[in-house]
Symmetry: C2
Amino acid sequence: MSSENGSQLPFAWLEPRGPKWTAGAPKRVHDNPWFAVDDFDAVAPTGSPARYFLHDHKAVATGCLPLYPDGTVVLVGQWRFPFGTYSWEMPEGGALPPEHPLDGCQRELAEETGLQASEWREVVRLQLSNSSSNEFAVCYLATGLSPVRADTEDHTEDLAIVRVPFAEVLAAIAQGHIQDAMTVATALRVHHMAVTGALDPLLAEAVLS
Amino acid sequence: MSSENGSQLPFAWLEPRGPKWTAGAPKRVHDNPWFAVDDFDAVAPTGSPARYFLHDHKAVATGCLPLYPDGTVVLVGQWRFPFGTYSWEMPEGGALPPEHPLDGCQRELAEETGLQASEWREVVRLQLSNSSSNEFAVCYLATGLSPVRADTEDHTEDLAIVRVPFAEVLAAIAQGHIQDAMTVATALRVHHMAVTGALDPLLAEAVLS
């Protein structure tokens, strides 16, 4: 999935500048069910040769902030293997093409929290680590929440679920207790939307209270 | 670098819950100067066996938003190889331990923009992709900007530099034209700080104008 560069740019300074990278065919030097590593002999925009190792992700990352009209949100907690730390996050998962990111996100919301949402709004797109990885994330605000039965479960996930005030989530982010990039960016973007009139006024009031 | 989980938690719900992952010694299945891939036979918190492939990053990612008193910020533009798209971002780089993230960030700011800052404030910490990678980012707000001579340069970087109103950066993020995760999270956090009284009042006014 590509970024939206080049289409209907709101500011002239956003225009791309200068030559692109060029690269030959990659050599796949590692492969597993979730990601691969490709080794490229590339030429940098400066004209210098550069060996590039690309972390090639197979799924699009998705996540949603489930928000109730009273300004509370649902987070899931789990131990994250790569850091060995406990992490409170919005419900997240991966959509393996051709699954649409929204379909994947709705599936993960049901699996992880037993919830469905009647309204979905894409609020932020992220290149998670764009110097070495093509992992892309599409993040949503999910409202109109109600219970749903999930058909599948992940046998390696042991998730805790909390419903807490959005203001506490923002405070936890500000103090460094929530660090998951998708959750941090989405929560701060929803706050920005509330402040700038991009949310329904009643919902904005609940979010900012 | 670990997260700050477990220390002085402001809300009881942030407490870690349930058993951790366990894992034996990894087998390194790929290695390059920037990252490696380790293959673990692990046991999930549920008790299920799980094979885990960890994307092990060697540097800590750093970046700063250079902010002037008039509410303008400095961004750098470049083609990003993994996506093949042009990306406007705050100045970013890597700090290879034992270099401190702040030292690395100051070095990158000088190299990429020819600027130094007299005031540095850490504003957000990110686990960039914590289901498969241990890449950690420390992001700063840099103020009190002045020119400086940089001693080094990167022969694969061909950077454009702009100084633009912070409001335009927020608008570009909201419309999906800026997608770099560190830049998105840091800009939205600085907006949040301005709204919530965490910035000097004159600077907040400039940021929000």
